[in-house]
């Protein structure tokens, strides 16, 4: 029971993680929390759904409910979702930056983008949930702990991407530039870093990871227009718990929030899930006012 709860928590945490990493990157580099992050997740899921409809869902590999077409669709959706984010930046956020818009204007603009994306999805794909596959997947049983192959894949892909992101941030020029810009944009400029270029890559990576979250969520649960919006509060909870300024903090925060959700679903009423996220936020901030890995303001 205890272990099952942890496993469910880790699965829930993987979707939050993939979303909050982008939220954290945008927050630290563009200096505002984007309320559209949830809807980027949904958009990514729907793009993959559209691609699968085009290329078919043929086959299944290693007992999963999906085959190569979905993997191809996932990669394409990650790229296309990045393109969508770039287009939105060009059309909206870059204009606001040029006018030195306040943080609150940027947040409000992101609210607008969120509503636009969500309702475009409803216009084109309707309210009803969609599934990548209707195949019923039997759960694997590890001594009483049950997990489906799809869930295992979601956790594995998330882990791999988090490790990859860590290597990217600590080993590559672009990753180091991003860390430099997130701490001190004007000093980054003085060192020859093109801040605008860093911003564009931030959108691409953030939206790319969001698309992966959307596809995995679609594979494990379902695709529906509010799938990303429903992740927005847990993502913000994870960001706050983690300390706002650290991507690693955000990942830890996601794990904590995911586990809290796992416990709630197991022991309490599932509807209390999001309330529990915020109880965790309050408790963590009482002990560490700047979050797990946050710096003193």
């Amino acid at each position: 029971m205890m272990v099952q709860m942890l496993v469910d928590g880790v699965v829930a945490a993987s979707f939050i993680t993939l979303g909050v990493v982008g939220l954290s990157m945008v927050y630290n580099i563009l200096n505002f929390p984007t309320f559209a992050q949830g809807d980027h997740i949904a958009t990514g899921g729907y793009i993959a759904l559209g691609l699968v409809a085009l290329i078919g869902t043929a086959g299944s590999i290693a007992g999963l409910s999906f085959g190569w077409p979905l993997i191809l669709a996932l990669v394409c959706a990650a790229v296309l979702n990045g393109v969508v984010a770039l287009a939105l930046d060009r059309a909206i956020f870059s204009r606001l930056r040029r006018q030195n818009a306040s943080r609150i204007s940027l947040i409000m603009a992101s609210f607008g983008v969120a509503l636009m994306l969500r309702h475009l999805i409803i216009v084109f794909a309707g309210h009803e949930p969609h599934y990548f596959s209707f195949a019923i997947q039997p759960a694997l049983d590890f001594g009483g702990v049950r997990i489906t192959r799809n869930e295992l894949v979601a956790v594995a892909v998330t882990t791999a991407l988090v490790i990859g992101l860590h290597l990217f941030l600590s080993r590559t020029w672009l990753g180091k530039s991003m860390r430099a810009v997130s701490e001190n944009p004007s000093l980054a400029k003085v060192n020859g870093i093109d801040v605008n270029r860093v911003i564009l890559w931030t959108w691409v990576i953030s939206a790319g990871l969001a698309a992966v979250a959307g596809v995995l969520l679609g594979v494990v649960v379902q695709i529906h227009p509010f799938m990303g919006f429903e992740l927005l509060l847990p993502m913000f909870a994870a960001l706050i718990v983690g300390g706002m300024t650290s991507i690693y903090g955000a990942v830890l925060g996601a794990l904590l929030i995911g586990l809290a959700e796992g416990i709630t679903v197991q022991y309490f009423v599932p509807e209390y899930r999001q309330a529990v996220s915020f109880i965790v936020v309050i408790l963590v901030l009482m002990v560490r006012p700047n979050g797990i890995l946050g710096e003193k303001a």
Partner: protein, 244 residues
Amino acid sequence: MTAALHLEVTDLVAGYAPDVPILRGMSLSVHTGEIVTVLGPNGAGKSTLIKAIAGLVPTSSGAIRVRGNNIMGLATHRLVTAGVAYVPQVDNIFTRLSVQENLEIGGMAAPIELRQRIAEIYALFPDLARLRQLAAGKLSGGQRQMVAVARALMARPHLIMLDEPSAGLSPKLTEMVFQKLLDVRALGVTVLVVEQNAKAALAISDRGYVLAEGQQRFTGTASDLLCSPEVGELYLGTRTKLAS
């Protein structure tokens, strides 16, 4: 001074708001291989001058030439490729990055031979070599200033501009930082310093300018400025020390 004109600022007007200029027709010249200090009271426009050269403060008229090329209006991130390094007064290192990563960021404009350059810089700043893996935010004030100067030198600049390198440092550390600037000059780098600490800065400088209300008030060799009672009394606030 027969050396070539390295940095030439002519009638520069600059400020954050176009109708409220902070610099009001500032002129200054630095020759290759010189150390030149810009002095002046708080609010005189010293930092604005250096930031305007770095492209961080809007300029409205005048000219800024580096080795004869006009760099006015150049995007800040292109300054490094023009061979100009800038060490801001505050927030001049990336505190969350390690010492080594700070140097790597500094060398981004010239990533070929990066390892060799890092080795050269550690030879110049031996104390930093053993701190290389440490987050720069954990360093002391003097060490931070060394990281800031080391980072700026990574891109092999021919001109380095420093904004109040003595800010927040003890007299002993201040002297150490200024002694380091002599080493930097010995590498063939021209140095422009903006300072409040007139005595320490002029001690290593060839020439100096005194700035007040956005314009140049006095200029001369470092020893002239140090000995001038007028300069001391009016702008350096060190009358008793200098006049005695």
